[in-house]
């Protein structure tokens, strides 16, 4: 739980917008900078974390966070309150990230027509298979867990990381993720499967119980 925003990072953003936020937006629209600043303080770490996870470095994440709130400032009148403000902000941030990738000529948002077929025939094969020693609730209490999670995510190829962040961490649907990244739904599904398998492999090497490890080459009765 983020003590400043009172929100759980993994909570799906597709929840009802609160009256308090609606009130802040209304006040900001009428020129109250304090209300606007309150919105920024409430969501800044969610937006920054989102950008930081997608981009993997502080400088780009700062740029995207700044551009997102500048866009909010300029287009506050366009927010109709139909969905939660956070979802709206995340979409703006995703657009900014997309723009940055294009400017840097990165391949993240480039659909790959052969990807679906290739990936199905060449899925990363689970190698280290073992039940975890502790459940996620216990793991989250440990200081080193956050570092291990960030490290594993940062090591993923960017195109898989982007899909995992949008779909599994932020809770966007497959269709929304496809639209935000300019990919086909099939591409998103394949990239998500590969991302999940890669992260599972990495995390199980940290958290798996070696004494209960089972062989990937096993007979079936």
């Amino acid at each position: 739980m983020d003590s400043r925003t009172g929100e759980t990072l993994g909570a799906k953003p597709i929840a009802a917008g609160s009256d308090e936020v609606a009130d802040l937006v209304a006040r900001a629209r009428s020129g109250d900078f304090e209300a606007f600043q309150e919105i920024v303080l409430r969501y800044q770490s969610r937006i920054y974390t989102f950008a930081r996870r997608l981009l993997g470095n502080d400088a780009d994440a700062e740029d995207v966070t700044q551009e997102t709130f500048l866009a909010l400032l300029e287009h506050l009148d366009q927010y109709r309150g139909e969905g939660p403000l956070l979802s709206w902000l995340l979409r703006i941030a995703a657009n900014e990230v997309h723009r940055l990738w294009r400017r840097q000529n990165r391949q993240v948002a480039q659909a790959d027509a052969t990807e679906e077929e290739d990936s199905i025939s060449q899925l990363p094969r689970p190698e280290f298979i073992a039940p975890w020693r502790d459940d996620p609730q216990q793991l989250l209490l440990r200081r080193e867990t956050a570092t291990l999670l960030d490290q594993a995510l940062a090591e993923l190829p960017e195109k898989y990381r982007a899909v995992f962040v949008l779909r599994d961490i932020e809770g966007f649907s497959t269709e929304q993720t496809a639209e935000m990244l300019g990919l086909s739904v099939a591409n998103v599904k394949v990239r998500l499967l590969r991302a999940r398998l890669m992260l599972r492999e990495k995390l199980t090497r940290y958290f798996g119980d070696p004494d209960q490890r089972v062989s990937p080459d096993h007979p079936h009765t």
Binding site: V40, L149, F207
Partner: protein, 93 residues
């Protein structure tokens, strides 16, 4: 059903979107019931997603926080100065 075939359906299984006919469903359930490594892989993936969803946000660098608010305040003043200028022009015309 082989482990590899099951692997391809893991997204649908984990997301609760498995769309199989009765025979496929049975084959799938039978494989999962008998194959401990596949059960463990599915559990591991569920735990992986759970961990990331509940993870902590990155702290905002302090100097960036100050810079961000300063730049927003500047833009805010420009915007409202622009608006009040155009509304006074409109009322004056």
């Amino acid at each position: 059903m082989t482990c590899e075939e099951l692997l391809r359906l893991i997204n649908e299984l984990v997301d609760g979107e498995l769309d199989l006919n009765l025979a496929e469903c049975q084959e799938f359930a039978e494989h999962l019931a008998k194959c401990n490594p596949c059960q463990v892989v599915v559990d591991n993936i569920r735990q992986t997603i759970q961990l990331y969803r509940a993870g902590e946000p990155f702290p905002l660098p302090r100097e960036f926080q100050a810079r961000l608010l300063a730049s927003l305040r500047r833009r805010w003043q420009e915007r409202f100065a622009r608006e009040s200028e155009s509304s006074s022009q409109a009322s004056g015309s």
